[in-house]
Amino acid sequence: MGENFSKLKSRALKIRLLKSVLAGVAVGLLCAGMLLLLSKFEVLAFTPILALAIGAAVILLMGTAVYFLLYTSDKTLAKRLDRQYRLNEKVQTMLAYKDKEGIIYELQREDADASLAAVPKKSISFKRLWIYILCFMIGAAVFTASFVLSPEETPPPVVPDEPFAITELQIAALEELIKHVETSEMASPYRENVAQSLYDLLDELKLATTESEKDASLSKAMDAIYEQTGLSSSALELMNALWSYDADSTKQLAKALNYYEWPTANASEKFSGNITDVRTELALVNSVTETQVLFIKVSSNITEALTKSKIEPTDPLCTVLTRLATANETKEDGTRVYGLSTLSALSETLGATDTQRELDATFTALNSELFGALSQHAENTGTGEYAMTRLSELFGCQLPKFERPQFYESSSGDSSGSSGSDEGGGGAIGGGAVYGSDDMVFDPYTNQYVEYGTILDKYYALMFGKLQDSDYTDEEKAAMEKYFDILYGGFDQEDEE
């Protein structure tokens, strides 16, 4: 084969290699760049390492594929050379008869080689090389862009700050709420603190001109009231501590302290019933020995729980429970108060019957003190939560999650503390979903907040009078009466509870 043909073949091979590398790198860079961009813009999840690894694999695969795709046999190259440079099939003939001997064949080979020598070698095979270079540049550009570009930080949607101006009704309602707190039985200094927070809120809301300012003020007030409510309700931790013990009597005592379940109207009766349950639980043992063990156990549970909880030692609840656990008192009138540990020690001397009698006497003596101590906590919690609920109603702000004892959820099925379950005003905690008759609502006739039940009666009387005097159809009259029946029906449900 001619020397010049070999040179051209070698050149074609080099260019084929160059094209393969360019094509492989172009597609690999494009692929890696696209993956990086897609992952940057969160269309696909690819780590940069994985994207680069895929790009490298594509470079190898594509390069190899293009190398084989661009494979040119000697025959094809000869054909191409003949056609491209109008060599009158000299190269093809040279190749076809390369092994033939004879003067004509030799002359033919010389002639073909001489013709190839005249071919401008630099022009050969570079045909369409620009396409590969262009592809490479595109790939490189995309790859570079994947590093340079970064997704624009999507600014949070600009919520136009709506103008805000507190209404007269809201001011009146807030002042009413402050008055309610100030006149409540909430313990000091929590009451004053909550009231001060509300005063501050009122001042800030009067000055607020935008919704964001209003929200900020409300949030601050809510946080402050929530904190004061928590601080004033340390009985909650005590209940949780008592609930954590194994003894059923201790658990029963924890439940008995749960003022969150007290109904509005007859909290005392409910409490008495719960205490009786504790008493009954303590009387379930048969022997003196068992009584001794149980009493000691419950006594130590109470003592430990008081220590574990954050309840102040001066808190009446702490005092009365300490007495229930360890008292050994004999009053001037001869009445005795024996705590559980004392009774445990005396039980052998007293015998089972007297022990139970002394236990009853103790519970009777401490009953009112315990109720009083718990009522204070109930008042604290109720006032704080009522204040937050009213703020939520008045200004539409989010209510925090009110805390409840651990066993509360299992016993009531609702620990959310949402406004729906805590509507009871004036310290009323828990209760049903019926809108309470003692809720304060605004009366547009008197421009004052009055109890819901009062205004309902008033409106019903007005409506009834109008129904009698006007030209309403029977159907319209029936609809209105039905509406009030539904409203009064709500009262009926609450009364029943």
Binding site: T93, K100, I104, Q108
Partner: protein, 335 residues
């Protein structure tokens, strides 16, 4: 003779080929003004061993070319003027009865004018088909059979015939079989004004041909042998075969032009003739291989008398050469 001596001899032949072709051309140009392509193709046919049919109006130098060629070739030359009353025996020769040395009557074959190396069949289409047919055997097989006896004609042997395309009265179109025996049909065109002027000037001096013999029969045979060794690559060979096949309208693979304009196509002799002539043309061009260009250039003289165009082509005012151009173009596309 060893390998080196062989190569030297071969080189001499190659060298001689170019020289001889140049000399023949040069000598012919002394008597024939212009007509370069015709001279070129006639030389190709002679070296390739093919017969040539020259077609042209009277006075364009057909006969002069052939006569001049007869001189240049330094070969026994005979001229047969074809006329309607020419008999086959007038061409081939006949057995005559004569007395031998002993006075006995014996039959003796008297060769006709065909027994020459270069035969000029002037106005061949004026002879009757019967007489024309007498040429068939000799043109193809280079022998004459008379009374069951075959007489070999010395090589090289060529028939160069002429015909006039205008005068149709009293002419007999050559049968296809005979046409196929001609390797080339060359159309001798009317000379240009310049050429005509040169012709007039030249003939004022002398009407006789001035060309001199520069090549003999052996040398022509050597040249032929050399040309036959010129390599043809398979692709070119396939193209040649396709080109000839594409002239057949009955073949499904033939081109659209063929199907539309051709009545019947060329015989296998066309493909043989194309390749043989292309080898000579390549060597004459200083090349040692056959190219597509050789095939395309020779397709016209080789195919134009072998294919017959139909009425549609005539109606579309197309000549055979136009149709050949179309077939070449369409065959090139699938090359």
């Amino acid at each position: 003779m060893n390998h080196t001596e062989n190569n030297t001899a071969e080189m001499e032949r190659v060298k001689m080929f170019s020289e001889k072709v140049a000399k023949v051309k040069s000598e012919l140009k002394k008597d024939v003004v212009g007509q370069t392509d015709i001279i070129e193709n006639v030389i190709i046919a002679i070296v390739a061993g093919g017969n040539v049919l020259l077609e042209g109006v009277p006075g364009v130098g057909k006969t002069r070319l052939v006569r001049s060629l007869g001189k240049v070739l330094s070969l026994p030359f005979s001229r047969i003027q074809f006329t309607p009353d020419l008999m086959p025996s007038d061409v081939t020769g006949t057995n005559i009865v004569e007395k031998d040395e002993n006075g006995k009557l014996v039959t003796k074959f008297r060769p006709g004018p065909i027994f020459a190396n270069l035969v000029l069949a002037d106005e061949i289409n004026r002879a009757t088909p019967k007489t024309q047919s007498a040429m068939l055997e000799v043109m193809q097989e280079h022998k004459v059979t008379v009374a069951n006896t075959s007489y070999k004609i010395d090589e090289p042997f060529f028939v160069l015939a002429t015909e006039n395309p205008i005068e149709q009265d009293g002419t007999y179109p050559l049968p296809e079989a005979q046409m196929d025996r001609f390797m080339f049909k060359l159309i001798v065109g009317f000379p240009s004004a310049e050429e005509l002027s040169s012709i007039v000037k030249m003939t004022q001096i002398t009407m006789a041909e001035t060309a001199e013999a520069v090549i003999n029969g052996k040398e022509i045979l050597d040249m032929r042998a050399l040309a036959s060794a010129v390599p043809v690559v398979d692709e070119v060979l396939s193209y040649t075969v396709n080109l000839v096949s594409n002239t057949h309208p009955e073949l499904e693979t033939s081109t659209a032009s063929t199907k539309k304009y051709v009545k019947y196509g060329a015989s296998p002799r066309a493909a043989q003739g194309l390749i043989t002539a292309a080898k000579v043309r390549a060597l004459m061009s200083g090349r040692y291989n056959v190219s597509y260009e050789d095939i395309n250039a020779l397709a016209y003289p080789v195919l134009r008398h072998r294919i017959k165009i139909n009425y549609t082509a005539i109606n579309d005012k197309l000549t055979v050469d136009d149709v050949i151009s179309m077939i070449i173009k369409e065959t090139k596309k699938v090359r």
